[in-house]
């Protein structure tokens, strides 16, 4: 799972889709996840990275991660799999 190549992602959490003209903002944790996805990391690695940076339990992250990536897919920001 990774972000489409044509999607512009800024360091400050601004995302722009040039195909549709839509833009989005993500919060810092969302931005971290986007960066990890762009590095082709799997959920296990992403979870490990996030949990080493933030105070968070396994279940909470996993639940929020699936919700977040579902929204990325919903906004058509992810590569087709």
């Amino acid at each position: 799972m990774r972000i489409k190549k044509n999607i512009a992602v800024s360091d400050t959490g601004f995302i722009f889709n040039p195909s549709s003209g839509d833009s989005y903002s993500v919060n810092p944790i969302g931005m971290d996840i986007v960066r990890h996805l762009n590095q082709n990391k799997e959920i296990v690695e992403i979870k490990h990275a996030i949990m080493s940076d933030y105070v968070c339990d396994d279940a909470t992250f996993e639940k929020d991660y699936y919700d977040f990536t579902m929204m990325l897919r919903n906004y058509k920001l992810l590569e087709d799999e």
């Binding site: 995302i15 839509d22 833009s23 989005y24 903002s25 993500v26 919060n27 810092p28 944790i29 969302g30 971290d32 996840i33 080493s52 940076d53 933030y54 105070v55 968070c56 909470t60 992250f61 639940k63 929020d64 991660y65 919700d67 977040f68 579902m70 929204m71 990325l72 919903n74 906004y75």
Partner: protein, 453 residues
């Protein structure tokens, strides 16, 4: 390395050019303390959800309202509207500040007596007064506000039986230019019903007409309507003096002053559009003072303000149970309090603040209560920072009609706490228990046992 505080990852579409001349709201600051007491500690000590009342705010509200009216009018008397919130501790805060009691049922009447209010300082309103209620009110010399002719005739008969002359007022309804016009209570001014009732009272010789009462509506955003009402009430009082040689002791303008809650569908927030107490005071007092009363005939001004004196003193604390995503992509958060205890969310968009620090990102969310019922929606749409399960929230302006209109439905009702001016907390009502609820239930003997196979 110190770990950072976790916030749920969110992505939000940016909609430039959306119609909102005020821009994005930035009011969502965390509310971590109420009157210096931390929300976290309150929930830890008394549980969640939890109603919290600020005694300081209640006293401040009443003192401000009294000062505002007394600066403009020489004789002012507030009476605490029991139906707005009749928790005994709440009532007694207002009674300690000099408020009489305004009740609309025998249940409320008995509560006021039990709280120590002298009978002659309990204004008895409402359409439902039984013969026994009337007898008790006569015995206690309470001003009885007559709602309809049936009550007037019954009261006249009872007064004869008791050989007493009860003190009465009539409730008057009228056109004050607002819609809808409240004409279901009392006698109409324009059609002459009010005059008819007044003539009947004075002709009977069995009742002492001491006052005139009106209550033109609720959550009134138009102060000028009170000016119209006060002028019509003064016209009646002057007419009674001039034509029937009877001096009215008080004009009761009822309640209905708005609080700063935001009505559903309102484009602007309640705090931006609600008139101040001085706006109401100005029109009412001006109308009465300009009506033409001679100095000695000026009636006392009674006020039964409830909502505006307590709404901002009440808070409902709660916690996040869960977050979920709806099929249309909207975020939904389930809270541990529902419409059963926050009945007012049917007509208000209550302001709700997170009770912990958060980042700058927000998202549109639906707030649901915990009831397994589709109607249990606290806010259809609210912009909040991402809340995690276990986080706390504070509902503002939850002091009026929440406790008195709460329903025991599906779950038990929570405890209610008051914070005194020194910052000490006091339980003023324990949380409900199953035992409380089943106390009055009876089980027929033949239903006491069953066997499931």
């Amino acid at each position: 390395m110190v770990k950072k505080i976790y916030e749920r990852p969110i992505i939000r579409p940016l909609n430039s050019g959306m119609m909102n001349k005020f821009g994005t709201r930035t009011e969502y600051l965390p509310v971590t303390h109420i009157d210096g007491v931390s929300v976290k500690s309150l929930i830890a000590q008394y549980g969640s959800p939890l109603f919290v009342f600020s005694e300081r705010q209640m006293r401040e509200n009443l003192r401000n309202a009294k000062r505002t009216f007394e600066n403009r009018y020489p004789k002012v008397q507030f009476a605490w509207s029991y139906k707005t919130n009749y928790l005994n501790a709440i009532c007694n805060v207002f009674h300690q500040e000099g408020s009489w009691a305004e009740v609309v049922s025998r249940f409320e009447y008995d509560k006021a007596l039990h709280n120590g209010v002298p009978g002659d300082k309990i204004l008895f309103n409402g359409p439902d007064k039984t013969d026994d209620d009337l007898r008790i009110a006569i015995k206690n010399n309470s001003p009885i506000h007559i709602d309809h002719l049936d009550e007037l005739y019954r009261l006249t008969e009872i007064a004869s039986e008791m050989n007493a002359k009860p003190r009465v007022a009539i409730r008057v309804n009228m056109d004050t230019g607002i819609y809808p016009m409240w004409d279901r209570f009392g006698f109409n001014y324009e059609t002459g019903q009010a005059w008819d009732a007044i003539n009947k009272i004075l002709a009977s010789g069995k009742l002492e007409l001491v006052g005139l009462h009106t209550h033109i509506g609720t959550y009134m955003l138009t102060p000028s309507a009170y000016g119209v009402a006060a002028a019509k009430m003064a016209d009646l009082a002057l007419g009674i003096k001039n034509k029937l040689d009877t001096k009215i002791q008080y004009i009761d303008m009822g309640g209905g002053f708005a609080s700063e809650n935001t009505l559903k569908g309102s484009y602007l927030k309640g705090s931006d559009i609600v008139p101040s107490i001085s706006d109401y005071a100005e029109v009412i007092c001006t109308a009465l003072l300009n009506a033409g009363f001679k100095n000695n005939d000026l009636p006392a001004l009674f006020l039964e303000t409830g909502r505006a004196l307590i709404d901002n003193a009440g808070f409902l604390l709660g916690s996040v149970i869960a977050n979920k995503r709806l099929s249309d992509g909207r975020k939904a958060t389930i809270l541990d309090f529902g419409v059963n205890i926050l009945f007012t969310s049917f007509w208000y968009d209550h302001k709700i603040s997170p009770a912990q620090e958060f980042g700058m990102h927000t998202e549109d969310t639906v707030l649901y209560g915990p009831l397994c019922m589709n109607i249990d929606v606290i806010r259809e749409n609210i912009t909040l920072p991402p809340l995690n399960a276990g986080d706390h929230v504070v509902v503002h302006h939850a002091g009026a009609y929440t406790v008195t209109q709460s329903m025991q439905f599906i779950t038990l009702r929570p405890a209610i706490v008051m914070i005194d001016p020194k910052g000490e907390t006091h339980v003023i009502k324990n949380n409900e228990t199953l035992k409380d609820l089943e106390h009055n239930e009876k089980m027929p003997a033949y239903l006491q046992k069953f066997k499931l196979t």
